[in-house]
């Protein structure tokens, strides 16, 4: 695996090579609760390192069940939360040590799109408000006309008609329109990174496709790196280049989305993929109850064990004795599971160094499909 690491370092020094936009370095987030004599520590994010790059900017999905830490990861990247341990670097600078001007730039360049397209609006203001505030804050326009022009451009950019959107109150727009207005707001600021946390989970199926297509266009046409946080593996598959599967704060599997979803390796990813309700009556959920029962059901999972041990049908005694390392299965796949310990541990902690770069190897996608 040293070869991979060498090529990665090699490419990053050549001209026009990817530079790191937003990087997490060994980030851990612990939420503590309970009284001081019986403190409970919950690792929402457990030692995660990865980055989002430009040239090419990719779409990276983060998937997992509720409580897996995917939203916390997004909040840390947005700077809403300082991690307990580790660093967040924006273009090489530690976010925690930035001065006011640097922070302002960071806030502008890293934009958020949230799950609920209603609660992000103040119902007393027209939707124009969310644009004018951003324009005033970053002094994007010198006149009202210029501001208006910028807003209209952004709204057209997400496939809405300005005349049907501006001047209205949030409740007068549909859920899909509200969500697209949020995307338009991000677009107005021309960010380098968008963190989209479940952007379509509250939107109808018919509009879901439109919003995801808009995100994809922002990435392809404008080169915005996108972190797509979701629990829906089918949309992650369609939109993202690479995916990280999280379970209780650990990234248990990561790599090229085509491989991870169509040939999952980690037992948790397998369970997730098997549970996708496929829109095809001829591919119904296979009966899982025939499979062997998890050998460690009911065990108290401590931070010193594999987090998935109590639900894992393939668990071995190793799994209760220590946390598995992350193993590199191949160039574009890592898995945190003892099943793959023969593969050798990763040479680079940065998960993104195992990601598939879209334009460099287009054949990978075609071959697997």
């Amino acid at each position: 695996m040293t070869a991979t690491a060498e090529t990665t370092t090699a490419t990053s020094t050549t001209n026009g090579a990817p530079s790191s936009l937003l990087e997490l370095r060994n980030v851990t987030q612990i939420f503590s609760s309970g009284p001081f004599w019986n403190r409970e520590h919950n690792y929402a994010v457990n030692d995660v390192s990865f980055n989002l790059t430009d040239k090419p900017a990719l779409i990276t999905a983060v998937a997992g069940e509720s409580g897996s830490g995917k939203t916390t990861l997004g909040r840390i990247m947005l700077g809403f939360q300082s991690p307990t341990l580790g660093q967040v670097l924006f273009r090489g600078d530690d976010v925690a040590e930035m001065n006011a001007a640097g922070r302002k730039q960071y806030r502008r360049q890293v934009q958020a799109i949230f799950q609920d397209p209603f609660s992000v609006y103040n119902p007393f203001y027209k939707v124009d408000h969310i644009f004018t505030v951003a324009i005033a804050r970053y002094k994007l326009a010198s006149s009202r006309d210029e501001a208006r022009h910028l807003i209209e451009e952004a709204i057209s950019g997400v496939g809405l008609r300005p005349s049907e959107t501006l001047g209205r109150y949030p409740h007068q727009l549909s859920g899909g329109q509200r969500q697209r207005v949020m995307v338009a707001r991000s677009l107005l600021l021309k960010p380098q990174v968008i963190i989209a946390d479940e952007p379509v989970s509250m939107v109808d199926a018919s509009l879901r496709a439109t919003i995801l297509e808009t995100l994809r266009a922002l990435n392809h046409d404008l080169g915005i790196a996108i972190l797509y946080i979701t629990h829906d593996l089918t949309t992650a598959y369609q939109v993202a280049d690479n995916i990280m599967i999280m379970y209780r704060g650990h990234v248990v599997e990561a790599g090229d989305v085509e491989h991870v979803i169509n040939d999952p390796k980690h037992p948790y990813t397998r369970l997730l993929v098997q549970s996708i309700p496929m829109p095809d009556p001829n591919r119904r959920w296979a009966d899982m109850r025939g499979a062997n029962d998890p050998p460690f059901t009911g065990i108290d999972v401590t931070p010193a064990m594999c987090p998935f041990v109590n639900r894992c049908p393939d668990a071995i005694s190793n799994c209760v004795e220590e946390v598995p390392s992350t193993y590199a299965l191949d160039e574009h796949r890592i898995s945190k599971c003892f099943l793959y310990q023969d593969a050798g541990t990763v040479s680079d902690e940065n998960i993104a160094s195992y990601f598939n770069v879209r334009d460099a190897s287009p054949s990978t996608n075609g071959a697997a499909s």
């Binding site: 199926a205 089918t234 829109p279 499909s369």
Partner: protein, 322 residues
């Protein structure tokens, strides 16, 4: 359908508001056979939840059932008085709500909430007998009897949804209405809850109407699917037919907009927005968004026609009537 458990004819649910009359459900005909699993899909505002609420007679003012009949085993629910309807709810028709966390009382233990449901329907028996009954019920939905001692906040989302399923089946209803029962759950738990629902359903032989917009879930669960648009059923067919040969352009677009994992492709949404239910345009309600609209679509409302695969679309009116 002679052996129908539920038979809805020309159901109309209108909401009279200051701006006019909102026709949330506008002439729905539907038959559900004994033990059948029917999926009701559509966008928000298409009338699918309102149809389910109408069956429970739970439409609140300013809404009202403006017309039509809802026959459950031959008895028209629309004409029942409120006390008569109370006896039907829970006994004959039960509901599994969308948000289990809001359906359970946060300050009372699961046991006392379940006992309420039994007492309210005239079950009075010894404490031991009740306890036995509750234990069986929670076991049926795959829970340990100690959940009875817990408060809702001590249960996970999936467990809470199972409790609501246990409550729904406690009187062995003929029909279970499940309104997006798993939309708040993640895929693994969603699957477990849906499998639980299917298990208890087949045990008591009830029919189920599953309301939702997740076509994937429908494909996994339903026998037949009804597609609603702007308060009307636009297509009603077996799940295999809906997915292999959808006939209504709306159904076709809905299915092609679904993401899957068999190769990346451009995702296509359905252009446009559903019509305002205040002023439904003349003709087919889907016409403004329909890629295959013809002149007749703007004037004439197509009827729901056909034997097993029913569709209301002028593309098929000739074929169906000939």
């Amino acid at each position: 359908m002679p052996d129908a458990v539920l038979s809805i004819r020309d159901l109309r649910v209108y909401f009279n508001i200051r701006a006019g009359t909102v026709r949330a459900v506008d002439g729905v005909d539907l038959d559900i056979a004994e033990g059948e699993k029917l999926g009701l899909v559509g966008e928000s505002g298409s009338g699918k939840t309102t149809t389910a609420l109408a069956i429970m007679r739970m439409i609140k003012p300013p809404g009202e059932i403006a017309g039509g009949t809802i026959q459950l085993d031959g008895r028209d629910l629309v004409g029942l008085s409120e006390p008569e309807m109370r006896a039907v709810r829970g006994n004959d028709v039960a509901m599994v709500p969308q948000a289990a966390m809001n359906a359970l009382n946060p300050v009372r233990r699961i046991r006392s909430q379940m006992i309420d449901g039994l007492r309210d329907h005239g079950v009075s028996e010894s404490r031991e007998r009740t306890e036995e009954r509750l234990t069986t019920l929670v076991a049926q939905v795959g829970l340990n009897s100690n959940v009875l001692n817990l408060f809702p906040h001590e249960l996970s989302g999936g467990m809470k949804q199972r409790v609501t399923i246990a409550m729904a089946i406690c009187h062995k209803p003929r029909l279970i209405l499940a309104d997006e029962p798993t939309s708040a759950l993640d895929v693994v738990v969603q699957r477990q809850v849906m499998e639980t629902l299917e298990e208890v359903r087949s045990e008591i032989g009830a029919a189920v109407i599953l309301v939702g917009h997740d076509m994937g879930l429908m494909a996994q669960f339903a026998d037949r699917i009804g597609v609603m648009y702007a308060g009307k059923l636009v297509e009603l067919a077996t799940v295999e037919q809906i997915f292999s040969t959808p006939r209504h352009p709306y159904t076709r677009l809905l299915i092609s907009s679904l993401p899957d994992t068999a190769g990346k492709r451009r995702l296509e949404g359905i252009p446009g927005l559903p019509p305002s239910l205040l002023e439904i345009p003349p003709g087919c309600p889907f016409m403004p968004r329909c890629p295959e609209a013809m002149d007749i679509c703007g004037v004439d409302v197509p009827e729901l026609l056909g034997e097993t695969d029913m569709v209301s679309c002028h593309l098929h009116t000739e074929a169906a009537t000939v």
